[in-house]
């Protein structure tokens, strides 16, 4: 995984609540056996009409947001299916940060494993950033993961929380499996004891 660098860029406003992973990447694109190339179909049914033409007023089709690196979203972003195709599609499109008041659990975890930082902020702070995002290219939002801050265009800075292990992995582009493999002795000894106490498993 690539290391997560600080981001400063245009943010796309998506105030709709409960944006689910079926919206982010509809099922017809789950038939791939690869992780790459899904950005072309990100938000497919909201972004394109039946003939594959762009729907003009969808936010990511507007000139200001075509290269957005941040999404400021309504509550409960990423709910529904566990499909990791959702963060694959977002990252492939170029999204590195998503801000919301809340994220669905599985989507939240999947994001970190793909170089995307989901940031949870209180409602009032999301509202400030949403307003910024609505100003398009006239506004830039900056994210500093090391210091756990996100800044609005006028410099107002908000602190955010992030799990220390997840932050460490994101900043250093670390592979979870490699890290766990270093603890293989713990797994071995757990398994040995467990086999005795629960032989039917």
């Amino acid at each position: 995984m690539e290391k997560f660098e600080n981001v400063s860029g245009v943010a796309a406003p998506m105030p709709l609540i409960n944006i689910d992973t079926d919206m982010i990447i509809p099922k017809q694109f789950l038939k791939t056996i690869k992780r790459s190339g899904l950005g072309a179909n990100l938000f497919d049914e909201m972004r394109f009409d039946d003939n594959g033409n762009e729907i003009e007023d969808f936010v990511l089709n507007k000139p200001a947001y075509r290269k957005a690196e941040i999404i400021v979203a309504g509550d409960n972003f990423g709910c529904g299916s566990s499909r990791e195709h959702a963060p694959w599609a977002l990252r492939d499109f170029g999204i590195k940060v998503i801000v919301s008041t809340s994220f669905a659990d599985i989507f939240y975890n999947n994001s970190f494993k793909n170089g995307i930082l989901p940031i949870v902020l209180p409602k009032e702070q999301v509202a400030v950033l949403m307003e910024d995002a609505e100003r398009g290219e006239n506004a830039r939002i900056s994210v500093d993961l090391e210091n756990q801050t996100i800044s609005a265009t006028d410099g107002t800075e908000f602190k955010f929380e992030v799990d220390s292990f997840k932050k460490h992995c994101l900043l250093n582009g670390l592979d979870d499996i490699g890290l766990t493999m270093q603890k293989v002795q713990s797994i071995d000894s757990f398994e040995e004891k467990y086999k005795k106490s629960a032989p039917w498993v």
Binding site: D20, I33, N76, S82, R83, P87, D105, K113, I187
Partner: protein, 468 residues
């Protein structure tokens, strides 16, 4: 004496293989279920890194999402991408030596129906799958939840998952259900109460008399939709109903192992005075046969209610409801029981078990579906299908005018050819009414199997209490 623990605490504690200073744990996984859609990239990752599957004997694969459910599927899958995905699973299962139920096997079906049916899912276990409806297995008092593909790869390689513990939430359903009210109505009513994010950060334990009175099939329906309430997992403490269901299944413990397991399982309950971070209590008597009207599972109401008005809501929900109603083609104030239906889908990991088919068949016996109605039953597994045929249920469905299909996920997520056309309105026993879920522009109303069957006959959403 140690502090009182919840059932979740106990299962968690029994599976921590390593704990770091910051509380990040390696949770040992007892069963890893795999299907064709979320696993190919994980197996590819193993191959690239030269890694194997650590515990193939604890890993079970079955194709379900993509498979056609028409009987001619024995001739192969027409859709090339679907076929490639299923073939990839065939190959991965063989190469890595994991248990496999191919499309041709009578035991094939939806992964969350096959696991319990074959006795892979047992009380006290940790169960994961690259599918959000893994929550289903919580019905056995197992800690079960969905994971992403990176985590699938992690579990394949290490048999563990990197996790931090969730909070405890209790959902108690007191008393008994009224006639016509089912497990599906319980789980949808709970989501209506908590909202789709109400469970975020929690593992839910469902308890109370109405839960205890449910069969295992019903309990699976309840836990299945825990994810729709945002919870990591849903759990129900095992009891005699659970043990009776498990005993004798192909992969359930036998002989001395069974006795040892039973002794261990006797401790799988929440201690008195254990702490819950959140508690919801609903009287079973207050739960009505329910349907969804919008495009989120939280958009649920009793069947005798009317379509709400966006102005009834607050905050971001106002716009979301306006968007939902436009998508669903509904008008505020319209009676839910007046909504005309084009299609009925009975099946899915929520309601594709034998008890669900019995409930639907009981409604349909001696009746015909409305002219022009498209109706299908997709049993959750080949064995459910065989049992339904043996019990005469299949014939009831066929006589009523339903299509009698082979097992798979089918129109729940419409990855196979079973899809809705734009604006086609479907009464579905599945779990998600999201925009486009059952096909682009398709309109989904979630309900119980009996209510779905009644809708097929009357041609509209129907109060099962008034149906005869």
């Amino acid at each position: 004496m140690s502090a009182p623990k919840t059932l979740y605490d106990k299962i968690w504690d029994a599976h921590v293989a390593h704990e770091a200073d910051d509380g990040t744990c390696l949770l040992y996984i007892d069963r890893h279920l795999v299907h064709e859609v979320t696993s190919p990239q994980a197996f590819e990752g193993l191959r690239i890194a030269g890694r194997g599957v650590r515990a193939p004997e604890k890993t079970i694969a079955v194709p379900d999402h993509n498979v056609p459910t028409t009987t001619d599927r024995v001739n192969g899958i027409d859709n090339e991408e679907s076929r490639i995905q299923v073939e990839a699973l065939d190959k991965n299962a063989k190469d890595f030596g994991i248990h496999y139920y191919p499309v041709s096997d009578v035991r094939q079906g939806i992964v969350h129906i096959v696991g319990p049916e074959q006795g892979w899912t047992l009380p006290g276990m940790t169960v994961v799958c690259g599918d959000s409806h893994t929550a289903t297995h919580g019905a056995f008092g197992a800690l079960a939840h969905g994971i992403g593909t990176s985590e699938v790869e992690h579990v394949l390689a290490t048999q563990t998952l990197i996790q931090k513990k969730s909070k405890n939430m209790k959902v108690e359903i007191t008393g008994s259900l009224r006639p016509g009210v089912t497990a599906k109505d319980i789980t949808m009513t709970v989501i209506g109460e908590t909202g789709t994010a109400g469970g975020t950060g929690y593992v839910i334990e469902y308890c109370g008399q109405a839960i205890r009175e449910l069969s295992m099939e019903g309990r699976m329906t309840v836990c299945n939709m825990a994810i729709e309430g945002g919870a990591r997992a849903g759990l129900i403490a095992p009891d005699q109903t659970t043990f009776d269901y498990v005993k004798g299944r192909p992969h359930a413990p036998k002989g001395a192992d069974w006795d040892a397991a039973m002794a261990n399982w006797a401790d799988l309950y929440t201690d008195e005075d254990a702490h819950f971070d959140k508690v919801i209590t609903i009287a079973g008597e207050d739960i009505a046969p329910s349907v969804t009207w919008g495009t989120s599972p939280e958009d649920v109401l009793p069947i005798d209610a009317v379509v709400p008005n966006p102005s009834d809501f607050e905050g971001g929900k106002v716009d979301a409801v306006a968007r939902s109603l436009a998508y669903m083609g509904l008008t505020p104030g319209q009676k839910l029981s007046d909504i005309a239906i084009d299609t009925v889908f009975i099946g899915s990991c929520t309601n594709g078990r034998i008890e669900d088919l019995r409930a639907a068949a009981a409604v349909l016996k001696g009746k015909k579906i409305k002219d022009g109605m498209r109706a299908m039953v997709v049993p959750g597994s080949g064995l459910v299908r065989a049992q339904a045929e043996e019990e005469g249920l299949a014939q009831i469905f066929i006589d009523a005018g339903f299509e009698w299909r082979m097992a798979g996920c089918s129109m729940c997520l419409a990855m196979n050819p079973d899809q809705l056309a734009p604006e086609e309105r479907c009464a579905a026993t599945s779990n998600r009414n999201f925009e486009g879920r059952q096909g682009r522009g398709g309109r989904t109303h979630l309900l119980s199997p009996a209510m779905a069957a009644a809708a097929a006959v009357t041609g509209k959403l129907t109060d099962i209490r008034e149906f005869n």
